[in-house]
């Protein structure tokens, strides 16, 4: 089957300013593609092109006919003047009954917040709610723009677990943008290192040793690229108490 989405030779320029140059990128079913790069590397522009929000100046974007995108935008601030509950924000553009909403919120661990006001949520909680919102659309491609911002290490780790769990359950593809070079999801199938163009791409372990990558981020920056593999013997429920019965292990290791 064809890739969910593929970008071929995509370029973007605003006036004389070249933002993206000849980018090739594809996401297949079940694939987790991580896009990393410094600020101003064009990551957000690439996401906009993939979503169809912006037209590329050169190249083509091919979307599979049955593509359903679930999108988690990077910055999300809701004006305090606009009253909005979690339940309401989940159903802004999608129809879903109570059971579906609860299921999606349970998936991200914040079912208890269903009737809360979004203005009372912490940054991390809002991020989870927005992830649940993306899941309600039953996407076959998740586009996540810095999903772990506003989260501490524990929260980020759990967020990556959720993404992997969703991928395992629904076979969706994932396009994940991260400015955090030091940690890349273990389940990542392919890392694209972007700086206007694709500097290097490949399996996370290979990319971390790629001379282009070292040149771009320097030996200290690159040296800290850690592929996140973990063994937890416990997890924390959102209210903080330790949950023992849910043990988590990876079925395999990369390397």
């Amino acid at each position: 089957m064809a890739a969910l989405i593929s970008l071929n030779g995509v370029g973007l320029s605003h006036g004389a300013k070249h933002i993206l140059n000849h980018v090739d990128l594809a996401v297949d079913e079940r694939e987790i593609v991580t896009l990393i790069g410094p600020n101003g590397a064009g990551k957000s522009s690439l996401v906009k092109i993939a979503l169809g929000l912006e037209k590329p100046s050169q190249g083509q974007v091919t979307r599979r006919a049955d593509l359903r995108i679930g999108y988690l935008p990077q910055r999300f601030a809701i004006d305090a003047a606009l009253p909005m509950s979690v339940r309401r924000i989940l159903t802004l553009t999608a129809k879903a009954d109570d059971a579906m909403l609860r299921e999606a919120l349970r998936e991200v661990g914040v079912e208890n917040l269903i009737d809360a006001s979004v203005h009372n949520l912490s940054g991390g909680e809002l991020q989870r709610v927005m992830l649940a919102r993306a899941l309600i659309r039953r996407p076959n491609l998740l586009v996540l723009d810095e999903p772990t911002q506003n989260m501490d290490i524990g929260g980020s780790v759990e967020c990556y677990q959720i993404i992997q769990r969703v991928r395992d359950r629904t076979n969706c593809g994932v396009l994940l943008v991260s400015h955090d070079l030091s940690i890349v999801m273990a389940a990542t199938t392919r890392v694209y290192c972007l700086n206007g163009h694709v500097c290097c791409s490949g399996h996370p372990d290979d990319v971390s040793r790629d001379p282009e990558f070292l040149r771009m981020f320097g030996p200290t920056g690159a040296g800290t690229l850690a592929v996140y593999t973990h063994h937890h013997d416990h997890e924390h429920a959102p209210d903080g108490h330790v949950v023992h019965e849910h043990q988590h292990h990876h079925g395999h290791h990369h390397g």
Binding site: K48, L51, G52, L53, I69, Y71, P73, F76, A77, I78, D79, A80, A81, L82, P83, M84, S85, R88, I89, L92, T93, A94, S117, H119, N120, R137, V143
Partner: protein, 280 residues
């Protein structure tokens, strides 16, 4: 000023009861429209946008006279034209949008005043257009307002859900299939119509006050967008009634009286409102 004498003389004159009733009916009609639309202007941080459109309304009055059509038709056309320009300039980056809105706003007001000053043949009640004259509304004006209310409110109802989605996060809404461009244009048309209709009631200088102040007061008693829109309508009706009453009792100019009443309600809401404005 002998207030008791003034109020007594107005209230005892039975022939004048009709104009008070007409003013009240017209004012309530405007509150019905301004409430829900004002909510979106506040949520979308478009206060300046409404301001610019209302200042441009005076230019519309002049255009209406020049073209030989009714002032209200001139205002609607001009507001639509200015609104289209505003939609266009939001996507440029040479001049900051708020600066440009300020320039457009006062330029349109000045050009309107200049154009009207050239029209020797028509007698224009400038004060009436600047500050409104709700006590002079005719039955035909009321018909305009309520016909407009039906058009504006049903238009808003049609785009309500996508407009809320667009307000929360434009890119997200577009990625989820909301036709942003069309919705924005319809919304702009609705504001233009509202400005044209409200002009007679509070005048071009105070229209945006009527769109903003009841909305700001309503925030504290609502937990959903729809509740807030309804609360805004309620408080707007309250402000119109209170303002008209004050204008009769103390012989205040009526348009500013309504805006002052809305402000009193807003301040009271700050003091007694159960819900605090949260910063994030």
């Amino acid at each position: 000023m002998d207030m008791s004498c003034t109020s007594t003389s107005i209230i005892t004159a039975t022939t004048m009861d009709n104009f008070i009733l007409r003013a009240l009916v017209a004012g309530i009609g405007i509150a019905l429209i301004a409430g829900p639309l004002g909510c979106f202007i506040v949520w979308r941080r478009m206060a300046y946008f409404g301001d610019t459109l209302s200042h441009a309304a005076l230019l519309g009055v002049a255009a209406g006279f020049a073209l030989g059509v009714s002032p209200i038709a001139g205002v609607i056309m001009t507001c639509i034209a200015i609104g289209a320009v505003l939609l266009g300039v939001q996507s440029q980056s040479r001049v900051p949008t708020d600066t440009l809105l300020g320039i457009l706003s006062h330029t349109a007001l000045s050009f309107g005043l200049i154009a009207l000053s050239f029209m020797d043949t028509v007698r224009v009640d400038l004060m009436g257009y600047l500050f409104g004259d709700i006590l002079a509304v005719t039955t035909a004006d009321i018909a305009w307002i309520y016909a407009g209310a039906v058009v504006i409110l049903s238009g808003l109802l049609m785009i309500w859900r996508p407009l809320v989605a667009l307000t929360i996060h434009a890119d997200l809404a577009v990625a989820e299939g909301v036709p942003a461009h069309r919705i924005r244009i319809i919304f702009m048309l609705l504001i233009a119509l509202t400005v044209a209709l409200a002009m007679k009631i509070v005048g071009v200088l105070l229209i945006s006050a009527l769109l903003l102040i009841p909305t700001a007061a309503a925030r504290r008693c609502a937990s959903s967008p729809e509740q807030m829109a309804l609360a805004t309508v309620g408080l707007g009706v309250f402000a119109v009634t209170g303002g008209l009453y004050a204008s009769l009792m103390w012989d205040l100019p009526s348009g500013p009286g309504i805006v002052a009443a809305a402000t009193v309600i807003f301040v009271l809401s700050l003091l007694v409102g159960p819900r605090a404005f949260r910063s994030s």
